[in-house]
């Protein structure tokens, strides 16, 4: 009888993730940021269907026109007569893609590297982290410029270049966390239960790392977007007619006095996105930090 009773009235637990989610929902700033970011992402993805113009379509009659509803260029046009609305969204697509892909690259390398170094420890840890230190010492911009000079401007190169630098931070953070987790009693308990090392890493270490990793990811994406913008601003980023927010800001800044809209719209989108990521990151950090309860 006990068995049936037990089975019929099993109480659902509330996991730490659910708890964190509840706390995040209560955080107005983070929630707004999520909504705004979702909207921007949707716009960016749906860009081709939102406007009758192509991102590289040149309208010779309307060069550097101000935003107007009548001619359909709601953000105006740039100095060669391309529709800025569609270019802004197209640029956003590129910026977000760089942000997400480069972060994913750094995530995969960083977690593997950091968790391995942290869990195994000792000499292995020493060697692995010294490699990280050496890579840290490389002048990043110089490295990128060299790459560009050797291989020509190539968007994939940018992904790799940024990702290859960013995983260093991730590896350090993950290693530090792993070191503390490794000494937690529940890991020792798992060892005492006879659980094997790879299983301990997968089942106990990584799930407990995820919280901090998620926060870090939301803070890395905007950082990467900024780096890309900076590269584009220097003229090292994406190649025409492709564009990104950084490249658009660069173009817009050149004739800021005569056509301020060409600067303001992409800059506004860029700033809003960065804001959102940072707010979400902050909100997540508060939500995932159990000490804040």
């Amino acid at each position: 009888m006990n068995q049936t009773l037990a089975a019929s009235t099993e109480i659902k637990g509330r996991s730490l993730w659910q708890d964190a989610w509840q706390r995040l929902l209560r955080n107005k700033a983070a929630l707004t940021a999520v909504v705004v970011l979702a909207t921007i992402s949707l716009l960016v993805v749906a860009a081709p269907w939102l406007s009758p113009y192509e991102f590289d379509e040149i309208d010779w009659d309307l060069i550097s026109t101000a935003p107007s509803l009548e001619n359909g260029h709601i953000f105006g046009t740039d100095s060669v007569g391309r529709d800025l609305f569609v270019r802004t969204l197209h640029g956003g697509r590129m910026s977000l893609m760089v942000g997400i892909i480069a972060t994913l690259v750094s995530l995969v390398i960083g977690i593997t590297w950091g968790a391995t170094a942290g869990y195994i420890g000792g000499r292995v840890d020493n060697i692995m982290m010294r490699i990280v230190d050496i890579l840290y010492a490389m002048p990043f911009m110089f490295f990128v410029i060299l790459l560009m000079v050797f291989f020509g401007r190539n968007i994939y190169l940018i992904f790799i270049a940024i990702g290859a630098i960013n995983w260093l931070d991730m590896a350090r953070i993950v290693r530090g966390q792993t070191l503390t987790l490794k000494n937690k009693e529940f890991v020792e308990a798992a060892m005492a239960c006879g659980v094997s090392t790879p299983r301990i890493i997968l089942r106990h270490i990584v799930p407990n790392l995820l919280g901090i990793v998620v926060v870090y990811v939301t803070l890395t994406i905007p950082q990467v977007i900024l780096v890309e913008s900076f590269l584009s601003f220097l003229g090292l980023g994406v190649q025409e007619p492709n564009t990104s927010w950084g490249a658009l800001v660069n173009e817009g800044a050149q004739d800021m006095e005569s056509a301020p809209w060409a600067l303001l719209f992409p800059a506004g989108f860029l700033a809003a996105t960065l804001f959102c990521f940072n707010f979400i990151g902050d909100g997540l950090r508060d939500a995932l930090d159990p000490k804040d309860r």
């Binding site: 037990a6 659902k12 637990g13 009693e185 529940f186 020792e188 308990a189 005492a192 006879g194």
Partner: protein, 324 residues
């Protein structure tokens, strides 16, 4: 009776990196230094000592969680200290541990059933889902948890309940030896009694052998058949429970017993005793000869010159003191 566990001259030393940039000298921390004891099936041995005396390291050494420097450990007639890591892991189904901090010893991201079932997944991987759940619920009931709480997370339980989860995890494989590392010292007074009673019941039911580690002599007195007192990695006294409390021979044991406050103002206020002075010496740099001599009220010159040997003063009553 057969001996379930025999520990013979066990040594666990750690190398501590020395100071100094050039040619740092490594120091050796003798956490456990020549401990020997044995344990019958169904018997409880209490291990008592202050923090830093090596009692937790001893427990971890027996389980193979820290490398053993010397000596041997026999579990059910098999030598453990020199097994490979893989072989050792297999033996863990016969010996399990309950930790001091109930919440910290449970993975916060796992449900109760996942936690308790973890040893089952390792040692009985072919068990069906239903049977596994059945086993988990059975053991939960045994330790006094409601089986319908199976899907909850550790942070939703109080300290006492978390400790019950920890005990359930340790017992689900039906081990022969249970090591309890200060299982009640982090709990509230009213909960301590519950857990002590639970452990005593279970031990009798399952004919478990238990190593019960604590700093509290009164808790140890409640639960143990025999007691061993440790100081700086060495055994100072070991005997049956009644013998130890009736006739403590080592000055350190006497000091420990005297230092425990008794919850009765009439007794407590009329107690005449001089508490042990000073602190535990650094285990990195233990005193010469008898390690207790720096705090011992009866220390003499011979104590500094020579470490006392373990002597059997009466049957089964071992003491290491020159004056016992």
């Amino acid at each position: 009776m057969t001996k379930l566990l025999r520990v013979d001259d066990l040594k666990i030393h750690f190398r501590i990196p020395g100071e100094g940039l050039f040619r740092p000298r490594h120091k050796t921390l003798r956490a456990v230094d020549g401990i020997s004891f044995d344990l019958d099936a169904g018997e409880t041995l209490g291990i008592v000592g202050e923090s830093g005396c090596g009692k937790s390291t001893l427990a971890r050494g027996i389980l193979g969680l820290v490398p053993v420097t010397g000596g041997s450990i026999w579990l059910a007639g098999e030598e453990l200290a020199h097994l490979s890591a893989r072989e050792l892991r297999k033996r863990r189904q016969h010996m399990q541990i309950v930790f001091q901090d109930p919440l910290a010893s449970l993975d916060p991201r796992m449900t109760v059933s996942e936690i308790i079932a973890e040893p089952l997944q390792v040692f009985e991987p072919n068990l069906g889902k239903k049977e596994r759940k059945h086993k988990v619920q059975g053991i939960m009931e045994r330790v006094g948890l409601l089986p319908n709480q199976i899907n909850r997370y550790p942070h939703e339980f109080s300290g006492g309940q978390c400790q019950r989860i920890g005990i359930a995890r340790a017992l689900v494989l039906k081990p022969k030896l249970l090591i309890c590392d200060e299982p009640v010292s982090a709990l509230d007074v009213s909960i301590q009694a519950q857990i002590i009673n639970l452990l005593m019941d279970i031990q009798e039911d399952m004919q478990l052998s238990m190593l019960f580690i604590a700093h509290d002599l009164s808790v140890v007195k409640q639960i143990s058949h025999r007691v061993m007192v440790m100081y700086l990695g060495k055994m100072v006294e070991a005997t049956t429970r009644d013998d130890l409390y009736r006739d403590p021979r080592h000055p350190y044991t006497r000091a420990l017993i005297d230092a425990i406050p008794i919850p009765d103002p009439a007794i407590e206020r009329n107690k005449k005793f001089e508490p042990l002075q000073g602190d535990l010496p650094s285990p990195l740099d233990p005193p010469s000869g008898c390690s207790f001599r720096t705090r011992c009220p009866m220390a003499a010159d011979s104590c500094a010159a020579e470490a006392p040997a373990q002597r059997e003063v009466s049957e089964g009553h071992w003491v290491s003191c020159h004056f016992a």
